[in-house]
């Protein structure tokens, strides 16, 4: 079983970090993982994305052209990657920032106002983790418990407050009901 995930949004929304967390979560479950960021000037405010692959077998190409799971945090990313998503794939949309719906009928679309939820929780920079929480719930790609454990690897010990905030965000997304 191999799951190819593409996370895309504006630079600064933490899409690379969200992907990194997901990769760590896969690693925590002893899966084969890869994480590949877009790099270059777009990291400084343009559109950023990262490819994350979790698999039971060695990962071939780390580049996700056709995601099984797509997370989008801005409209250009939805426009760009909606049609690339595999048939039967899952698309997660931050509905605070993207007004339109997914047009394809052969994928499962999930809408979560991640940015709004994060703002209400007082952690406005963690919309990325809110949407990852929702994705974990709907895909079962990793367990919620393991996701929380893996976060400890990503967030260093001296930033304990950040760890709590990240888990809070994950939890909010995981338990969000549309």
């Amino acid at each position: 079983m191999t799951t190819q995930v593409l996370i895309a949004g504006f630079g600064g929304q933490g899409v690379l970090f969200a992907g990194k967390c997901l990769a760590y979560e896969g690693l925590y479950e002893n899966k084969q993982v890869s994480w590949l960021p877009s790099y270059g000037p777009e990291m400084r405010g343009g559109t950023a994305n990262c490819s994350v692959i979790l698999s039971d077998e060695p990962v071939g190409s780390p580049i996700v052209n056709n995601p099984d799971v797509l997370i989008v945090m801005n409209l250009p990313s939805l426009d760009k990657y909606e049609n690339a998503t595999v048939k039967g794939g899952k698309i997660f949309v931050d509905s605070t920032l993207i007004a339109r719906k997914v047009e394809r009928a052969d994928v499962d679309a999930f809408y979560i106002p991640a940015t709004k939820i994060a703002q209400e929780l007082g952690i406005p920079t963690l919309a990325n983790m809110v949407i990852v929480g929702k994705m974990i719930k709907e895909t079962g790609i990793v367990t919620f418990e393991n996701a929380c454990e893996a976060m400890k690897k990503v967030v260093s010990a001296r930033h304990q407050d950040l760890l709590d905030a990240n888990i809070k965000a994950l939890n909010a997304g995981y338990n969000y009901a549309e």
């Binding site: 990194k20 690693l27 993982v33 994480w35 590949l36 960021p37 990962v59 071939g60 780390p62």
Partner: protein
């Protein structure tokens, strides 16, 4: 073995170099390899090593030449345009028979090119690069684990044969994160009686030099060096074969292109096409023998490259054009997809069947 950690390819190179006993790093910032310099800047002062941001790539490689002459493990890293600047120094290092490690995390070219991944420095890496008769041993890692493993091996091989070694990666390999286990390495360093560390007034002076004004001497030096290269071709050639036993078409690819080609092999086999992959791990020495043998039993080869087709020349030479060799490529920072590779397989099959 230690615990698996997620690391960027660039960071894995840096940490592996430190594990291999490298305490001297000289570099100059350039995308997409700057993480190596940043990692070294952070780590070296803590372990009594030296990180120095040089005024140019030219200076950096000459600082490497100095440390290599003194017989200490030393490295530099850059990306394509910067590696072009280093070629003068690399030629001197080769000419003076010094061990050193040069990392090239390639980006698109020519000129300033782009910053996205590329494999278009193949010729530069394997055909010499700088002026004169010489080779580098060139490793082409295809995973973050291999970035670490071949960095360590590169230092050992450089010392063993007294020559510069290059790790030829690309932007993808440098930027991607994968789990990696960094082995605890025991110091493999060998005696270097030729090094310049001061005579202590106890021996005649050592000279690190590549100047031979008498052509007879220079010719002999080059002949001797190429005898050494023959040994290396015998001992150090590395490659991986993937599903080649019954293959009709064999893909030849290294680095990131090999990762993509593996996906293509799996996809092609799902469609009932017998496809395999030969992945050179050393680009020099090139795995000519296995390619030549394979040519006797397959219908054709496809060289999958992120360039306008450079390695394909070596594939043709290795297979003595016994079977058709085609190119499947993207360049300039674009990355070939598994689907494109499968299409090229179908096209070649339609030609040969």
């Amino acid at each position: 073995m230690s615990e698996k950690v997620l690391m960027k390819g660039n960071e894995a190179i840096a940490e592996a170099a430190i594990k291999a006993g490298c305490r001297f790093y000289f570099g100059y910032p350039i995308t997409p390899q700057t993480e190596i310099a940043a990692y070294m800047a952070k780590r070296m002062p803590k372990i009594g090593g030296t990180f120095l941001q040089a005024e140019s790539e030219v200076s950096a490689i000459n600082m490497v030449y100095g440390v290599a002459g003194a017989g200490y493990r030393v490295m530099t890293s850059s990306s394509s345009p910067g590696v072009s600047l280093k070629q003068e120094g690399i030629s001197y290092i080769a000419g003076a028979d010094l061990p050193a490690l040069i990392i090239n995390v390639q980006r698109g070219g020519p000129g300033l090119g782009g910053i996205q991944p590329s494999q278009s420095d193949y010729f530069q890496a394997v055909k010499g690069g700088g002026h004169g008769d010489y080779h580098l041993i060139v490793y082409a890692p295809a995973s973050v684990q291999e970035m670490a493993d071949y960095t360590i091996k590169a230092f050992d091989v450089a010392d063993k044969y007294r020559m510069p070694v290059m790790l030829l990666a690309d932007g993808t390999m440098g930027q991607m994160m994968e789990p990696v286990e960094l082995p605890e390495v025991s110091a493999n360093e060998i005696e270097k009686p030729w090094a310049v560390r001061g005579t202590n007034c106890a021996r005649p002076h050592n000279i690190i030099n590549s100047l031979y004004l008498k052509p007879e001497q220079l010719e002999k030096t080059n002949f001797d060096r190429f005898e050494k290269y023959k040994e290396i071709e015998k001992n150090e050639c590395l490659y991986e074969e993937y599903m080649t036993e019954d293959a009709d078409i064999v893909l030849v690819a290294f680095g990131i292109a090999a990762r993509i080609s593996k996906n293509a092999v799996v996809e092609a086999r799902k469609q009932g096409l017998k496809v395999g992959l030969i992945r050179p791990i050393t680009l020099w020495p090139f795995p000519s023998e296995v390619l030549n043998k394979t040519a006797d039993r397959v219908k054709g080869f496809i060289s999958v490259e992120l360039s306008m087709g450079q390695m394909i020349e070596d594939v043709k030479l290795a297979t003595e054009c016994k079977k058709p060799v085609r190119l499947c490529n993207r360049t300039g920072g674009m990355i070939v997809s598994p689907e494109e590779v499968v299409e090229s397989v179908k096209k070649l099959l339609s030609e040969v069947e």
